[in-house]
Amino acid sequence: MTDTTNTEPTTPPHSQWYDVWHQFKAHKGAMLGGIVFLIIVFGVFLGPLLWPYDATYIDIRSRNQGPSFAHPFGTDQLGRDLLARMMAGGQTSIAVGLTAMLLALSLGSFVGIVAGFFKKLDGPLMRLTDLFLALPILPLLLVMMMLFREPLSSAVGPERGIFILIVVAIGITSWMPTARIVRGDVLALKEREFVLAARSIGTSNKNMITRHILPNVLSPIMVSATLGIANAIITESALSFLGLGFPPDFPTWGRLLNDAVQYLQDYPERVFWPGLGISLTVLSVNYLGDGLRDALDPRIRGR
């Protein structure tokens, strides 16, 4: 018989999420990315409370100024403070990114789980996913923006209408990768013993999905969430940059970049800040996803 007195664990018991956090902390790039992303989010949402200028306040006498103490990023062609506009634009861009990601994620997870769990629906749903993957996304988004901008703007107001339109458009054109990954994981999970055990004690399909399947596919979903944010922010900025996003007086990072490009020859430095905002957010979110992928993978964890 082996000596059983020594088997007492030396470390106190901890949850799975403690392990995940422990692994995540070790990934320097991911920590840095997470911190930068939090700073950007807090900066754009809390910054306007502290900053005296309004994003839409026009001061025509101080237009086209370079950086100064009063206006650290300078002012635009109508004398609006660019720091305030950067913060307001960041709010929209990040809000669009988060909402569109949530929509794409719930659509993708739903399709993925249903396709993986119910064998009958697998074929049709995956064909549908393939069809969506074959759609030319950017041209279609441009077309959708052109078609539905007017009706939606008049129905719920220009800003909210465009917001809904962009979020829905990005959401329904970017759920496919999530669906594919989730389906693959669900198919593998269904063969596991614990699912068989749950089935044998008479678990209903609904409980099976919510109690057993969903918690186990959470990690690929979370990783695609970070990639989804990055993708949505870039897409929104691209649309605004092409002049088919939010209305001209409504700042977003892509819109500010578009405005800056029009004054490229006279004030080239204006391009810098909105572009940096987009790139830094996307970069930090990508690193975050990288670290999350490592942290949530139990095969790597603990190394």
């Binding site: 393939d130 069809l131 074959a134 759609l135 030319p136 996304i137 950017l138 041209p139 279609l140 441009l142 077309v143 959708m144 052109m146 078609l147 539905f148 007017e150 009706p151 990055a230 870039i234 900025s237 691209a238 940059f241 092409l242 002049g243 088919l244 892509g254 970049l257 800056a260 490009v261 490229l264 020859q265 080239p268 430095e269 391009v271 810098f272 572009g275 987009i278 790139s279 996307v282 970069l283 990508n286 690193y287």
Partner: protein, 335 residues
């Protein structure tokens, strides 16, 4: 393999039909009226005739059918006639743009070379840069070069072309004055000087698009090389006494290229999509600019045709990637 190819080809037809239907139905919902620009003095019955002349009088499904016939039957005939001087398409109705009342395809043919030059060249440049980077960073995994490469590719992923575009314009055109600001599409190469000018104006758009390609493909190349470097056959090759150069550049590289080649094929349509933005930044007068112009002018036949052409590219290159994968990798046989 042949049966697989044929099956994929047949499967591509309903996919393309579905996509063209989706695009058509989307455009059906368009609120814009092509008659909005016509002066108010024109009487309504004349307007009605003009509408009919644009092919708007019939119900949706007939117009969809007509568009399909025009795109898949009449336009290829026009191309055939043009190439061999025959007269198959004589008197047949082509897809007419509402914007300039001419055939859409004529404009596409005018614009396509600009896009192909910029996109094609940037893709080749991107691949040429990406492959050595990927090979070397995999060979020296976790070295300084590898870490720097990882960081640069991450940046290449994260910085969108509509930022790198203005950035290189500010740097190289405004500050340094090396390259022209705007792409001059009417420029013709006749002698050495004009050739140098063409080269100079192409450098910046190619650079911006190539950055995206490089970032993506060098990652795949690195991952694929890493997969292969630890395989048994590599140890065998080394044990046989082959030189390191031969082991890496012949044995490992050839096997790692299999997935990379398919990624290269898959990435090409996406580059066309990205070119829409790059063309806008550098004012290149290609099909991306044509699409944006058509969208802003509410020119639905042009929008429908161009969007479908993008979709066609995606389906076509997906097919090529699938078939290529099977041809290159004998382990993968679909049938």
């Amino acid at each position: 393999m042949l049966t697989f190819t044929i099956r994929r080809l047949i499967l591509a037809i309903p996919t393309l039909l579905f996509i063209s239907l989706v695009i058509f139905l989307l455009l059906e919902l368009a609120p814009g009226d092509p008659m909005a620009q016509v002066p108010l003095t024109v009487p309504p019955e004349v307007k009605e005739k003009m509408r009919l002349a644009l092919g708007l009088g019939e119900p949706g499904y007939i117009r969809f059918y007509k568009w399909l016939v025009q795109f898949f039957w009449v336009e290829p005939q026009v191309l055939f006639d043009h190439m061999f001087g025959t007269a198959f398409s004589e008197g047949k109705l082509r897809i007419i743009s509402w914007q300039h009342r001419g055939p859409v395809m004529d404009v596409v043919v005018e614009r396509l070379p600009q896009t192909l030059w910029v996109v094609g060249l940037s893709y080749i440049v991107g691949i040429m840069i990406a492959l050595p980077i990927g090979i070397y960073s995999a060979y020296k995994q976790y070295s300084m070069f590898d870490q720097a490469g990882t960081f640069i590719t991450m940046i290449g992923y994260s910085i969108p072309p509509f930022f790198t575009g203005p950035l290189v314009i500010v740097l190289f055109s405004v500050n340094l004055g090396w390259f022209p600001f705007i792409y001059d599409t009417t420029h013709e190469v006749v002698d050495w000087d004009s050739f140098v000018y063409q080269l100079r104006q192409m450098i910046m758009p190619v650079m911006v698009l190539a950055l995206q390609t490089t970032a993506q493909i060098s990652r795949y190349m690195r991952a694929s090389m890493l997969d292969n470097l630890n395989q048994d056959y590599v140890r065998t090759a080394r044990a046989k006494g082959l030189s390191e150069k031969v082991v890496v550049l012949v044995h490992v590289l050839r096997n790692s290229m299999i997935p990379v080649v398919t990624v290269i094929a898959l990435g090409l349509p996406a580059i066309f999509g990205g070119a829409i933005i790059t063309e806008q930044v550098f004012s290149v007068n290609g099909i991306g600019a044509q699409l944006i112009g058509a969208i802003q002018a509410n020119d639905l036949p042009t929008v429908q045709t161009l969007t479908f052409m993008f979709a066609f590219l995606i389906v076509f290159f997906n097919l090529i990637a699938d078939v290529l994968y099977g041809v290159l990798d004998p382990r993968i046989r679909y049938d």
